[in-house]
């Protein structure tokens, strides 16, 4: 925030003669400053390459026309190809009609192996170090205390899992139907898609981190430094609202692998789980597996009292 460049002197209100002179003087001052500011901004933008200028002035993804989206995709694909030395595809597949994605996780099966964590990192191009970003946090809990996140251990590191007397609870974005994170965003850079996935426009996020404070599940992560994505490990199949490479200073989160699920594939974490603890499907389809689980198993929601209405259901299969 800077000072108002033209402090209005309001003698104008008192004497009409002065007022004309004042307002004239004021308007010249104001327009002079406006021109100066525009010129300065113009000079900075002129020193950029056309791509940089376009990137800087890009509108919110939701407001882009079809042609603009095509341009943005082309620009991003070229940028990533240059940066990582291999071709990238940046998809913009929209939500599938009559689809509301839901997830179910079987706490009686999960063994805490963290394979989902690493598969997610690989699939979704998360930063590998300084600091590493992981969208899934697996909490180790004591069987005697039951589900109590405040008593859980995020950094468990035994030789073998599962550890005697413990069980494991992976936590990731709960894709709330009443998401506290999207509401707090001052610039509307994050929202819920028609298929229920909460997404972030990395090119619009200002990095204020309000959403991180608002999220009760620790599901949002910030690129504190320059993300480290080794080119040989980069996943080239991406989505604009999902796993495309991120930049420093923006927030990111689980998108139910939007680049996969909108093409009818399972999320990477579902596919990798060695014990079949993770289930995924369309909540609007009465025949889907998640619907069967909700209707027939002992299901609970994490922090249900906050009324976030997650589409992520924990259950006990056995």
């Amino acid at each position: 925030m800077t000072e108002d460049p033209s402090p209005p002197s309001r003698d104008a209100l008192d004497s009409p003669e002065e007022s004309r002179e004042e307002s004239l003087q004021q308007s010249t001052r104001r327009s002079f400053l406006a021109y100066a500011a525009a010129a300065a901004a113009g000079a900075v933008l002129a020193s950029c390459t056309p791509e940089e200028r376009e990137a800087y002035l890009q509108k919110r993804f939701r407001e882009l026309s079809k042609e603009d989206v095509a341009k943005v995709v082309a620009r991003l694909e070229a940028e990533y190809a240059r940066k990582y030395g291999k071709p990238f595809k940046v998809g913009v597949e929209p939500a599938i009609p009559r689809t509301l994605f839901g997830y179910a996780l079987d706490l009686s099966r999960c063994i805490g192996c963290r394979r989902c964590v690493y598969a997610c990192v690989k699939e979704n191009n998360q930063s590998r170090r300084s600091p590493p970003i992981q969208w899934i946090s697996v909490l180790e809990m004591d069987k005697r205390t039951g589900v109590d996140v405040m008593e859980s251990n995020l950094y468990y590191d035994p030789k073998e899992v599962p550890r005697e007397g413990h069980f494991y609870m992976p936590v990731q974005c709960q894709q709330c139907r009443n998401p506290p994170c999207t509401r707090v965003c001052p610039v509307g850079a994050t929202w819920q898609e028609p298929d229920g996935i909460v997404v972030v426009d990395y090119n619009w996020c200002v990095g204020c981190r309000c959403c991180m404070s608002a999220c009760p599940y620790g599901a949002r992560h910030f690129n504190w430094g320059e993300p480290h994505l080794p080119p040989e490990e980069a996943n080239q199949e991406t989505h604009y609202l999902g796993n495309r490479p991120r930049m420093r200073g923006v927030v990111e989160k689980c998108t139910f692998c939007i680049q996969r699920t909108r093409k009818g594939l399972y999320p990477a974490c579902v596919e990798i789980c060695p014990v079949g603890a993770r289930k995924f499907g369309n909540l609007l389809d009465p025949e889907s597996e998640v619907r069967y689980i909700i209707e027939n198993k002992r299901v609970f929601l994490l922090k249900e009292e906050l009324n976030t209405q997650p589409k992520f259901f924990y259950f006990y299969g056995v």
């Binding site: 925030m1 800077t2 000072e3 108002d4 402090p7 209005p8 002197s9 309001r10 003698d11 209100l13 008192d14 004042e22 003087q25 919110r60 407001e63 300084s130 600091p131 946090s137 909490l139 109590d148 996140v149 405040m150 008593e151 859980s152 995020l154 936590v171 506290p180 509401r183 707090v184 965003c185 001052p186 610039v187 509307g188 850079a189 619009w204 996020c205 200002v206 990095g207 204020c208 981190r209 309000c210 991180m212 404070s213 608002a214 999220c215 009760p216 599940y217 620790g218 949002r220 992560h221 910030f222 690129n223 504190w224 430094g225 320059e226 420093r248 200073g249 923006v250 927030v251 906050l306």
Partner: protein, 407 residues
């Protein structure tokens, strides 16, 4: 061109001063330099240069921001009695309060800016040009009301000084409505800032209905504390008359505000420690430590000690009217509220984190440097504005004088 003349003469005024003045200016410029150096490092490496991480995603910057919103809001403590009740002894010093509000809001803006991951995208926040995500986003509202409050104070104070420069009283028709508007505006900026925390159900430590009243009460202590000291400095080094009664009255108001502040704090403490729900964890982290993590404990107790001591000093008329005790009290209140808002509000909200992790945050050197720089900018701005204001209010700077001098 009276306004140009006013501007030129103001610039000329700030370029003249004695050795103490220039030493102070050089000191502030050094702070600004340190801040610039720190910020350059942060821009190069990203916010990783701070000690904030995912579990504690706001820290020292936002704490300072919150504190300074309170300082800015507290300008109304001086505005209400002075203008609404035409209260003689305080009237002339209200200008200093409003200038303080202007400087504080500039610092608030800078603290938000240095905390942003993408300061280059600041324009996204501007309504119509970017995208204003109201009415749901409290931060969007905060940006709006802070800018309006800045504009309001800036216009009022410029009007009064410009009129004074021309040897005239300020226009009641123009200024009074604005001054009246500035009172609810001051309350609103701090309330909205409190709501920024208050509205987050994910953080039980902030999700308390008395957070906004606590914010206001503590602001009505810290803002006037700064004024109390600044006004003594002003009347010592500059030829301007500020009556003792005015300063004592401010101190008395501060005692009431501090009582309310401590009472509300006590109400919060009772609720947490008596009901002993899981939410007690955050208070325990702040006041007694959690699983051996005690980084914050000395600070929170120091803040409480400062506030209680200052309350007693300001409550008793004899100590209130003793200059040493008064100044000690002002410093204690300032320190108490600064720790309360800058450290003890933000960090326990995150510790333990929403997933039960205890990440002990303490500001990095870069954060300290940048913050020093922001304070440098604010105090520099304030010093220059006060210099002009004093020159005008003492009649040393006026349009007639500059005519006489052949300017």
């Amino acid at each position: 061109m009276p306004f140009v003349e006013f501007t030129v003469n103001s610039v000329r005024t700030v370029l003249r001063g004695n050795r103490a003045y220039w030493l102070w200016i050089v000191f502030l410029l050094a702070l600004v330099g340190i801040g610039g150096f720190g910020y350059a490092h942060q821009v190069r490496s990203g916010l990783i240069a701070t000690h904030m991480r995912d579990p504690v995603s706001w820290g020292f910057y936002i704490g300072n921001f919150t504190f300074l919103v309170g300082v800015a809001a507290a300008a109304v403590v001086l505005v209400i009695p002075a203008y609404v009740y035409h209260w003689k002894p305080i009237k002339e010093i209200v200008v200093f309060g409003e200038l303080l509000a202007v400087a504080a809001i500039v610092m608030c803006g800078l603290f938000v800016l240095v905390d942003m991951g993408r300061p280059d995208r600041l324009w996204h926040l501007i309504p119509w040009i970017g995208h204003w995500n109201g009415p749901g986003s409290i931060l969007a509202w905060d940006a709006l009301v802070l800018n309006l409050y800045f504009l309001l104070n800036f216009v009022i104070v410029t009007h009064i000084l410009f009129r004074g420069f021309n040897g005239r009283e300020y226009s009641k028709r123009f200024a009074t409505p604005l001054i009246l508007l500035s009172i609810p505006a001051a309350v609103s900026i701090h309330t909205v800032t409190a709501f920024l925390y208050n509205g987050m159900a994910a953080r039980p430590y902030w999700n308390s209905a008395i957070l906004a009243p606590r914010f206001l009460a503590s602001a009505f202590c810290s803002g006037p504390a700064i004024m109390l000291i600044l006004l003594q400095v002003v009347r010592k080094i500059m030829p301007i008359e500020i009556k003792d009664e005015a300063l004592w009255k401010i101190a008395e108001l501060m005692a009431y505000a501090m009582f309310v502040n401590l009472f509300l704090f006590g109400a919060e403490i009772f609720r947490e420690y008596y009901s002993r729900t899981e939410h007690l964890l955050f208070f325990r982290y702040a006041y007694s430590g959690l699983n051996g993590h005690r980084t914050l404990v000395p600070f929170t107790w120091l803040a409480l000690f400062c506030s209680v001591t200052a309350f007693l000093l300001f409550l008793i008329p004899r100590t209130r009217k003793n200059w040493v005790a008064l100044n000690v009290g002002a410093v204690l209140i300032f320190a108490g509220v600064y720790i309360e808002k800058g450290v003890a509000l933000v960090i326990p909200g995150y510790t333990p984190s929403v997933l039960g992790e205890i990440f002990e945050y303490f500001p990095s050197r870069t954060e300290a440097m940048v913050s020093a720089g922001v304070f440098g900018v604010g105090f520099l701005l304030y010093t220059l504005m006060v210099k002009v204001a004093v020159a005008i209010m003492t009649g040393r700077l006026s349009s007639r004088r500059s005519e006489a001098a052949g300017v």
